[in-house]
Symmetry: C2
Subunit: 63 residues, 2 copies
């Protein structure tokens, strides 16, 4: 499977935000919607900082 793990940068470090992420959708209002392969959804004020699909990593930053 090709889902990724999403992390968010907090206090200079990366914290786990959501595992097994399938869908990533930045919204027009500055929110990002993440949905895992299990249907778990998180919507938060953040932006995508970087991602590597080969490494299964998505890194978000707040705001």
């Amino acid at each position: 499977m090709c889902e990724a793990t999403a992390y968010i940068i907090k206090n200079g470090g990366e914290e786990l935000l959501l595992a097994d992420v399938d869908v990533i959708e930045p919204q027009d209002d500055g929110m990002v919607r993440l949905v895992s392969i299990y249907g778990e959804q998180k919507v938060l004020k953040a932006h995508i900082k970087s991602m590597s699909l080969v490494n299964h990593r998505v890194v978000l930053a707040q705001g």
Copy 2:
């Protein structure tokens, strides 16, 4: 492998932008940098509209 195919929305349809994408990095200046597993790089003025890692699809919109 878990790379994805990147498309860009143009004239209401999706055009192939870059295949076998590994790295996706939105930049602070409104550009997005894509790098394929073969090292091919594209930088363009766009934003991520949606992606599904399970479906290996990344869709960008211009501007």
